[in-house]
Symmetry: C2
Subunit: 198 residues, 2 copies
């Protein structure tokens, strides 16, 4: 059993989080989810989804997989040193680190992506890459894998990346079965990016 911890903050992007959670949630014998925030308070998405979280300091299980999502709330957190230090500590401890959309801006700013290849949201691209010049940013990709880091493109790309992660661990047939059961039209090839415009 692996523990996936989503480190949340207010004004996160709704689907950034819940798309991957749906996919991992389809393998309950392999993955359990922890929803964390700095203080353990109710944390709200951009679209008013107010959810219970556990304080990082009180998490029940060690974090095997760290998930960091994007959204307008990242604009505030890139200037929150305590948040970034916590993110870096969790990332160092985790076996795998996954980001969706502008979540990679937070990873970049925290320093953990230094020297790594990574991608992010297309519409916020300039802002994202301005957070660190130590990252090898890859603009044309549905998602990018480098070492223990999986970074995805914007919003919906997080579902494709989650299925890609599952395929890498459990085989592509398991990922395809989840896509079929969720009636999701999975973009299997991480290098095909319909939303990149040169």
């Amino acid at each position: 059993m692996h523990t996936l911890t989503a480190l949340l903050f207010d004004d996160f992007e709704t689907l950034d989080l819940f798309g991957p959670i749906e996919m991992f949630g389809r393998l309950p014998d392999h993955y359990r989810m922890q929803f964390a925030s700095m203080t353990g308070s109710i944390t709200s998405s951009k679209h008013g989804v107010a959810m219970q979280t556990i304080a990082v300091a009180e998490l029940e299980h060690p974090t095997d997989i760290l998930l960091i999502v994007g959204g307008m709330g990242t604009r505030k957190q890139v200037n929150n040193d305590l948040f970034l230090q916590t993110l870096a500590t969790l990332a160092d401890q985790a076996d795998w680190v996954l980001s969706v959309c502008t979540g990679s801006a937070l990873l970049a700013k925290s320093g953990v992506l230094d020297g790594k290849r990574a991608t992010s949201n297309k519409l916020a691209w300039q802002w994202v890459i301005s957070q660190s010049n130590q990252v090898n940013w890859v603009e044309q990709a549905r998602w990018v894998v480098d070492d223990k880091f999986y970074t995805s493109s914007g919003v919906s790309a997080g579902m494709d990346m989650a299925l890609g992660f599952i395929a890498d661990r459990h085989g592509v047939d398991v990922a395809r079965q989840i896509a079929n059961h969720t009636e999701y039209r999975w973009q299997e090839d991480s290098e095909i990016d319909d939303f990149y415009h040169a």
Copy 2:
């Protein structure tokens, strides 16, 4: 401004709800969201997302659009007369009623789909159609529109249906722009169903 009310219950399917919420949430000048439950208590998805809800009796705004999602929790609610009566009342009052996945089983059981065309999840098909023989069930469809009812196929089809609803109200270019901004590969044609197998 239109108010979308999602009537929730425990063990709802995570992406059934948050996929459409992401799409409607992209038009904050047109849609506001209310998350309701029978008692206004914390309500949890199948995958442990514990969210705040408002009791149906205490909703702040009248419901213009009712959203009912699916998931394992529907198995319990089809036998909950008070829930079904509340669902029917909200559906009667709403201008539009949207369902995702096995949410249409609840609508069917409540009687509001009598004489209407509707679809649902492919994997739970026999169970869904057994809830009512008064519905004209359509198995091969990404989503179905009849009168004020939009019913979608399983899980991810809810996102396509939400964009279809938005296209019908605001024009297809608005829906395509949301798909582009969320990097979502929208299946625009409601009649193309990749998950139907004759």
